[in-house]
Assembly symmetry: D2
C-alpha cells in the first residue's frame, strides 16, 4: 500500500501531466459533439484536442481521468472557494460533483447521443478547507439507458476520506 | 406592471448600489458570527461591515437582499461559467442556489446559533447562457427550528422565467 | 377564517363525499390512458369512472381534488402506518407525496402524453402520529414541458402545519 | 455461481425462516430503544424479541438481515402495491428504501443514541410489477457520525438487476 505522501505525489504528478496537455478553455461545436462517443469526447479533452470547460479554469480544477463508467476530476480548494463563514462554499463541492456526474453519464453514451442534467442531490459530509490539499470527485454509473442516466459521485482526499456524495438524473437524447 | 426593460434597469441599479457598498472578500471571525443574529450578519455584509464570500468574487455574483425569511443573490452568467458542451455549468446554478438556501436558513437564526448545510437537491429546468442577462436566486424558508432548517430557492430572470429550483436541509446548532 | 373544528369537519365531509363516488381499486388500460388528458383522467377517478390506485386502498388514503396544476390526496395516519420506533414510517409520507407529485405533473399533460417518475426527494419535517388526524398532500407544478415535469408537494394538517416537503422530476413522453 | 433458480429458492427460504421467528407488529418502548445498540435492536427484531414495524405487515415486506453497516429488507410486489397506471407505486419503492436507509444508519449507532430521518432522495430506475418476484432493499453506510448519518440503498431482484437507488440524511442524537 502506498502511503499518504506517495499518493499525494502521484496525484500532483498526474495533474501536472494532464494540465500540460490540455487545450485552452472553450466550447465544443455541435459537430464535434456528434463526431465522437461520450468517452471519446472526454478523452479528446484530456488529450488537448478539444477545449476544457471554462468553469474549470475559473474555479481551478481539471478533468484527470475518463473511461467508460469512470470519470475523475481533481482540484485543490483554496481561499477563492470560501464562503464567509470559514470553509469552502457548497458550490465548489457541487461544481466538482456535477462535473463528475454529468461526464460519467456522458462516458457511457454512444456516438450521436447527448445528455443534459435534470437534477443532482449533494450530501456535504465534511468541511473542505485550504489545508485539505487536492481532492478528487469520482463519478460512477448507477444505470445509463437510452433515455435516462443515473450516476453517483464522491469527493475524497488522498487519505480516502469522504467529503461529499452526490447522485444525478440525466436526460439522454439523440443529437440532431 | 413594470416592463422587462424597467425590471432589468432596476436589477442593474440595485446590483450597482449594493456592490458600491460591499467590503472586500474574506472570512468572518467566530466572534463576529457569535455577535449577530443571522439576519444582522447578512445585513452587515450588505452594508460593507463584514467581508463578502470569496467565491462570490471568483464567480462574480453578489448578495443583493437579506431579511428574515427572504434572501436574494444576483449574478449575470457569462462565458467563464460555461461547460464544454455549450451552456452554463450546473455548478454555477448550484453555487447561487446554495448561497440563497444557506443564507435564508441563516436569516432565521437567533444570535448564538450557527448552521451548516447537510444536503441540497437542485432541479435544472432551463439552460442559462451568456445571453440570459442577470438572474436572481431567491431563497425562502420551508421550516427552521432549533436543530434543523429546511428551505427552497429558485433561479429566475427579469421575465420571471424559472431556470432552477432547489431544496436544502441544514443542521442548526449553538455556536461555541 | 374558519376555525380548526370547521376545517376538520369540512375535510372529513369532502373525504366522505369523494369516497362514496369512487370505483373499486384497479388498473386503467392503455386505451383509457390514451383517451383522456391527464386532468380528465384524474377527474374520472374522482367521479368513479376509472379505478382508484390499489395502493390507496392498501394504505387507506384517497385522491380528493384534481385540477390542472393542483392535486390533493388525503389520509389519516394510524397504527398500521407505524415504524417500530414510535411514529409513522417515512414510507407513508413518501407514498402520499409521490401520489401528489406524479398526479400534479399528469394534471398538466395533454391527451396522448404519459409520464413516469424519475426521482423524488422528500424532507420529513415533523413526525406524524395516530393523534395527528387527517393530513393532505398537496401537489403544485414547478414546470411541466414536453419532455420533463418538475413539481413540489407538501403534507399539511388541518391547522396548516407542515409535516413534509418534496420535489420530483418526471419524464414526459408520447403514449404509443 | 448460483443460478437464478437457486438464488430465488435461497431468498424464499431465508424469508420463510425469518418470518417464522418474527414477533407481532408493534412499537418498541423508549426503554427498549435505550437498552440496545442499533445493531442489537435490529437483531432482536429478527429474533422475534422486539415487535416488527406495523407498516411492514401492512405492505407485506420484512427485515431479513441486519449487521452493523448492512441491512436488508425483502418483499414481493403484487397488485396491492399498484398505482392506477399499471405498475408498482413509487411509494412501495420508497417504503422499502426508507426502511433500509434508516435501519442501516441505526445499525451503526451505539447504545443510547437514536436517529430520525431528515430526508431521502429516491431514483426510480425500472418498473416493478407483480411478475418481478422478490426484491431486496439493501442499505449501506456512506458516513455515520455523532450528529449526522448518510446512507445509500438499492433495490435489486434475484438477477441483481437494479430497480431503484436512494440516499438519506439522518439526524443522530442522544436518547433521553
Amino acid at each position: 500500500m502506498p502511503n499518504r505522501e506517495q499518493i499525494l505525489a502521484q496525484w500532483q504528478a498526474e495533474e501536472s501531466a494532464v494540465r500540460a496537455r490540455l487545450a485552452a478553455p472553450g466550447v465544443a461545436s455541435l459537430e464535434q459533439l456528434k463526431q465522437y462517443s461520450g468517452a471519446e469526447f472526454l478523452q479528446r479533452i484530456l488529450n488537448g484536442e478539444l477545449p476544457v470547460a471554462p468553469i474549470a479554469q475559473t474555479l481551478d480544477f481539471t478533468l484527470i481521468e475518463a473511461e467508460p463508467g469512470r470519470v475523475v476530476f481533481q482540484g485543490t480548494p483554496d481561499m477563492r472557494h470560501y464562503n464567509p463563514i470559514g470553509s469552502v462554499h457548497g458550490g465548489y463541492f457541487c461544481t466538482l460533483l456535477d462535473s463528475a456526474l454529468g461526464c460519467v453519464v456522458q462516458s457511457m453514451l454512444p456516438k450521436g447521443s447527448g445528455y443534459t442534467t435534470l437534477e443532482l442531490k449533494v450530501n456535504l459530509i465534511r468541511a473542505l478547507t485550504d489545508k485539505t490539499g487536492p481532492v478528487r470527485a469520482i463519478g460512477k454509473v448507477i444505470q445509463v439507458g437510452g433515455r435516462v442516466g443515473v450516476a453517483e459521485a464522491n469527493i475524497v482526499d488522498v487519505d480516502g476520506k469522504i467529503y461529499a456524495h452526490a447522485t444525478t438524473t440525466c436526460l439522454v437524447f439523440a443529437l440532431s
